[in-house]
Symmetry: C2
Subunit: 142 residues, 2 copies
DNA sequence: TAGTTTATTAGAATGATTCTAATTTAACTT
DNA sequence: AAGTTAAATTAGAATCATTCTAATAAACTA
């Protein structure tokens, strides 16, 4: 989707999300989308941004992650109690979670198929199906 | 699995989990398993236990929930960041989550089938596959 | 540029969970 | 049954991720 070969207009990206292209949001968008396919926590992104010499407060990291999520640029996912990951891949896909290392890896959506879904109550509508394949004894590096 | 018709020997249940059948653990086991099929948070169980006139501290509720989970009597599940549910149904099944009400409902395991799983790294082994079907606009009461 | 709106921020507040250290209880021994 | 020991319970403090607050700053609009 996004890649390092063709340049991404981050200001455009942020504006399309209905947000002002501030230095902070552009900086975070660059971190998230420049090399694509990331699974980050707010803390990770925050310390990464500090390491790059751009002071972005943790509050802004949280604000921005939520705004990007609302705008459909990110998908929030919960695998562990007490910590949210944000996935830059918003297309249909699922996750492989390495319990030992905490690493999260995408599984193409068509690699997993769901057979019959249960009947839903009247008026109910599926907003999303999350599939997390939890794996142990494997470091996720092979 | 558990039901209200045939009596459950809670002391036996707790002992089989390698734990001493204390008043607190027996009380919590009764709350959890007497009528079966529950999805509770620690806080819920705690206030419920207080309401029944048995003073069980929140710390003990957490300890007990984790011990029961380790013993295979409960399954911990995370649908929302920042709050764990404990499911008394430990057989293979998945979940329907009503985003509006926060209600969680079981989906029989054979109601959902997974087609192809991705290749796993060497040495990796699937410990569990969690499927959460998120539903909106439905109160879960029909 | 002036005025208005939206963002950012430090630090306080919150909420779930875990930890600590002291007390109590269960189980074992004699 | 009393004494001993290991395990369990507890209140309250501590922790960690996240959200809130209210003040300052930057972006947009006219």
């Amino acid at each position: 989707m996004h890649n390092a070969v063709e340049a991404i207009d981050f200001a455009e990206l942020v504006r399309k999300a209905g947000l002002r292209p501030t230095r902070q949001r552009l900086s975070l968008a660059r971190q998230l989308f420049l090399n694509g396919d990331r699974h980050v926590t707010a803390e990770q992104l925050h310390s990464e941004s500090l390491g790059q010499g751009f002071g972005v407060s943790l509050a802004t990291v949280y604000n921005t992650l939520h705004q990007f999520t609302t705008a459909g640029l990110l998908r929030e996912l919960v695998v562990d109690a007490g910590r949210s990951y944000f996935d830059t891949n918003v297309s249909a896909h699922h996750h492989l979670y390495f319990e030992d290392s905490g690493e999260l890896r995408d599984v193409p959506g068509d690699n997993v198929t769901i057979g019959d879904l249960p009947a839903l109550p009247d008026g109910a509508e599926i907003s999303r199906v999350d599939i997390i394949i939890r794996v142990k004894n494997g470091d996720g590096t092979s």
